[in-house]
């Protein structure tokens, strides 16, 4: 296997992740050929393009086996591949972070959809109506939406913990205190989201939990010619931390 020296993480420095390496490699290939598509990249890597897209976007976990396989396709030296694998192992909690971030994103998307799309509230309301039937076809006819739309909404509500299918005849609105209006429903959805996000955040390792909470506001005077370099070399956040006494 040919060595690709520029891909070696420097000794003592974890360097970029394999995901970042893939992103950089794709950019490099596009630089050589503006027509180079993600599908072409996936073909070269002998991987499904949807999977590659998820890997590059961080929506799919980068397993050690995946790193080894793709590193071989990229003709990285064994040492380089091993270094990327080592990095993933060292940052093992980061892999869990990825899964947690994915779950956070899913929660946010589901909660947003539940708030914006009226059928979620309507279905919960319907469960409280005498004569409610846990039958998607019936719900579909009553609300005038497709059975698929009912199922997608029901799935989101169950995922968010706002609806429970107790038995064959009973679906229960578990969105919390009585929801009497669309506004109440929106607040209930946000409350559910907060509770789930808190639970997920608590499950993250300490090092990861600190990062989202780092925020500060500092005004610094920087000469315009030096501004780009200051940002690029992380001098601004470093100076802010100095001033904050961290």
């Amino acid at each position: 296997m040919k060595a690709n020296v520029s891909s070696f993480p420097a000794a003592g420095d974890l360097g970029p992740s394999f995901r970042e390496h893939l992103q950089a490699e794709r950019v490099r290939r596009c630089g050589d050929n503006p027509q180079y598509s993600l599908r072409a990249f996936a073909l070269d890597l002998d991987i499904d393009h949807a999977t590659l897209s998820q890997l590059i976007r961080g929506r799919r976990r980068m397993t050690e086996a995946t790193i080894v396989r793709l590193a071989a396709k990229l003709r990285l030296a064994d040492e380089a591949a091993a270094a990327f694998v080592r990095r993933e192992r060292l940052l093992g909690p980061a892999a869990d972070e990825d899964a947690t971030l994915i779950e956070l994103r899913k929660l946010s998307e589901y909660a947003a959809a539940a708030i914006v799309e009226w059928e979620h509230y309507a279905i919960l309301e319907l469960t409280r109506v005498r004569g409610f039937r846990p039958d998607v076809g019936w719900i579909s006819r009553v609300l005038g939406i497709s059975p698929d739309a009912v199922n997608v909404a029901v799935n989101r509500l169950v995922y968010l913990g706002m609806l429970k299918m107790v038995d064959e005849r009973t679906w229960v609105d578990t969105s919390g205190p009585t929801v009497a209006s669309v506004g109440d429903f929106g607040r209930a959805a946000v409350r559910t989201l907060h509770e789930r996000v808190d639970a997920l955040a608590a499950a993250l390792p300490e090092s990861a939990r600190r990062l989202p909470q780092e925020h500060s506001s500092t005004t610094l005077a920087i000469s315009t010619p030096l501004l780009a370099a200051a940002i690029q070399h992380q001098r601004v956040p470093a100076r802010a931390r100095d001033l904050a006494g961290e």
Partner: protein, 118 residues
């Protein structure tokens, strides 16, 4: 004895399109005459397992999910959690009487636990 995989499920944003695709490609038949209007897919092959097609929300990618039949869904969920799984859909009693839960395995791959109606 191990728990059998008794059902597969394709989750897609284009359920009707995939029903047509698979029925035409493999000669499967679709039946959605059930309380969930779930598109069950029968292969008619006499071997292997049947499956189904479920609608995905707009924000989700398509995927395939295996359903494993167990005697006690709740007990198996607890076991799975201890092994590193995460619950996506906690145990639910479906309109037809069967019970189901959906989890993510330690690699984030979804799978379902299923117990038929008694």
């Amino acid at each position: 004895m191990g728990a059998p995989v008794t059902h597969w499920q394709i989750v897609t944003k284009q359920p009707d399109k995939l029903v047509e695709f698979y029925t035409r490609l493999f000669g499967w038949t679709m039946n959605d005459k059930n309380p969930l209007r779930y598109r069950t897919m029968q292969t008619g092959a006499g071997r292997g397992i049947d499956g189904g097609i479920w609608p995905a929300p707009a924000e989700a990618n398509g995927f395939v999910q295996l359903h494993v039949e167990v005697d006690d869904v709740r007990a198996r969920v607890e076991l799975a959690l201890g092994l590193g799984a995460k619950v996506v859909i906690p145990p639910q009693r479906l309109p037809a009487g069967d019970e189901m839960a959906v989890l993510h395995d330690p690699d984030g791959i979804p799978f379902a636990l299923h117990s038929p109606a008694q």
